[in-house]
């Protein structure tokens, strides 16, 4: 299959699947807004009202973290079984297996646009002062996209061989959720000697940088971003390479 056809098919199928997914529900497209809104509400009620310890601007702080985290976690979680779930199709056509996780990544990223828009609307209404530093947002999103894709492809590549890993991935994601500083500031809670370990997790660093630009009117930590972009790119190339090498093996083992 030519690269151009591959891309067209990927976009067509992702679009079609999004349409189907949503057509099952009475409220239809509204769910793309309601769904992130509801999870934001939960965090607001739990941490903003009941567990509120009087930290200033805690709710925007929290929502910034949770929105980016969910994009990452949903993508990795859904993509991990994607090649396995593509077994019906791959038995019939010689299609490159990277197609299946890419489809999941694209559709999750599309849904993230709605969650992100909600977040920005909330921030403006809160009100948070819009600053010039918001301009760095597209860059951070692009970096997160690379990181999401790298991890999602890696998981998708391995799971068909060891399906049991799906449970492990789920558990690891939960662990990383608590270690990404989503509902606490890492600088104040984690001991300095442990911080370097925490920031080895690119999501922890990314969330911190999202907050810097959106809430604290400051530019992101460029050196840190450079590190994770390089790391993410290396992992991405590696994951694509693995899937490419195993491309013809998947139909036999799935």
């Amino acid at each position: 299959m030519k690269l151009n056809n591959f891309r067209e098919l990927l976009i067509f199928k992702t679009g079609a699947n999004l349409r189907i997914e949503i057509s099952q529900y009475y409220l239809n497209y509204l769910w793309w807004v309601i769904n992130p809104l509801m999870s934001m509400m939960i965090f607001y009620i739990v941490f903003g009202i009941f567990l509120n310890r009087g930290t200033k601007d805690f709710v925007p702080f929290l929502l910034c973290g949770i929105t980016s985290w969910q994009w990452f976690a949903n993508t990795v979680n859904n993509a991990s079984a994607s090649i396995l779930n593509g077994k019906g199709l791959m038995q019939q056509v010689d299609i490159h297996k990277v197609f299946f996780p890419l489809e999941v990544i694209l559709s999750n990223s599309f849904k993230h646009i709605f969650a992100l828009t909600l977040l920005l609307v909330f921030l403006v209404c809160y009100p948070i002062q819009i600053s010039i530093h918001w301009l760095a947002l597209p860059l951070l999103l692009a970096i997160q996209f690379i990181i999401n894709t790298a991890f999602a492809l890696l998981c998708a590549a391995i799971v068909p061989f060891i399906p049991d890993l799906r449970f492990v991935i789920n558990t690891v994601l939960q662990l990383v959720f608590f270690a990404s500083g989503i509902f606490f500031p890492i600088e104040r809670v984690i001991l300095p000697k442990h911080r370097i370990l925490i920031y080895m997790n690119p999501m922890a660093g990314l969330i911190k940088n999202y907050r810097s630009i959106l809430l604290d009117s400051s530019w992101p930590d460029w050196t840190y971003l450079l590190y994770i972009v390089l790391g993410g790119a290396v992992l991405l190339v590696f994951s694509v390479w693995v899937i490419h090498r195993l491309n013809r093996l998947y139909p036999r083992i799935c």
């Binding site: 056809n5 079609a16 199709l89 038995q91 019939q92 056509v93 010689d94 013809r248 093996l249 036999r252």
Partner: protein, 235 residues
């Protein structure tokens, strides 16, 4: 010397089966298969269920790689496997499925849209084409799959039990189109249980039996041998 498109050299293919936890066994779908496909011919493959016919088609189309031996492409060839539920997702409309099916077989989106009317026309689905595929009958789905595949012109077309689809009228129509394609020089590898289809369509036949080719060559001769063997087994 006729024009070779593709050859199989001592090809074997086995599947891994997990019995429980960490114990595995293997199933050898193909043991040792060698033959060539020539340009413009229609090769019929007969054999009982589980003889390895579908695995063979998957190897030729490049979906699977063999464990042993090799598949040699003598030149750049495109190979398509016609199976009747090509990329079909039940929730999507017949129209979207047709577009997706054509794209999966190697068309660009523009080309797929260009052929769309002809596909719908051939499948005789008319206004039902807008409905989700899950509301279709088995015959309608099969007709759509056949119509999509018939619009494709790969160098080698692989057909897996496709001519028995639809009602009598559609069957006649599909056989006719198939024959026209073969006459126009389309190379076809054709798997079937129906002897009469093989007899009327194929220029050469092969009999596959539990992963090995028992005989290959003249259609009459191969079918005769196959039927003799079947009779003996049934006795």
């Amino acid at each position: 010397m006729p024009d070779q498109l593709l050859s199989l050299h001592h090809v074997g293919c086995r599947y891994k089966i997990r019995n429980k936890r960490f114990s595995f066994s293997h199933f050898e779908a193909l043991k040792d298969v060698s033959f060539s496909i020539f340009k413009g011919e229609t090769l019929g493959i007969v054999g009982q269920n589980g003889a390895g016919k579908s695995t063979l088609l998957k190897l030729i189309s490049g979906i699977l790689l063999p464990n042993r031996g090799e598949v040699v492409y003598h030149r750049q060839v495109t190979v398509s496997l016609l199976s009747l539920q090509m990329g079909f997702s039940p929730e999507l409309s017949g129209r979207d499925n047709a577009i997706m099916g054509a794209m999966l077989l190697g068309y660009s989106k523009a080309e797929a849209l260009e052929h769309l009317d002809a596909i719908i026309e051939f499948a005789e689905l008319r206004e039902r084409i807008k409905d989700p595929l899950k509301t279709y009958s088995t015959g309608m789905k099969a007709r759509l799959g056949f119509a999509v595949a018939m619009k494709m012109n790969p160098d080698i077309l692989l057909v897996d039990e496709a001519l028995g689809v639809g009602d009598a009228a559609f069957r006649e129509k599909s056989t006719k189109v198939m024959k026209e394609k073969m006459k126009s020089g389309q190379t076809v590898v054709f798997v079937s249980h129906q002897d009469h289809a093989v007899k009327s369509l194929c220029s050469r036949a092969a009999w596959l039996d539990r992963g090995v080719i028992r005989c290959i060559g003249d259609v009459e001769y191969v079918l005769e041998a196959y039927q003799q063997d079947m009779k003996q087994k049934n006795r």
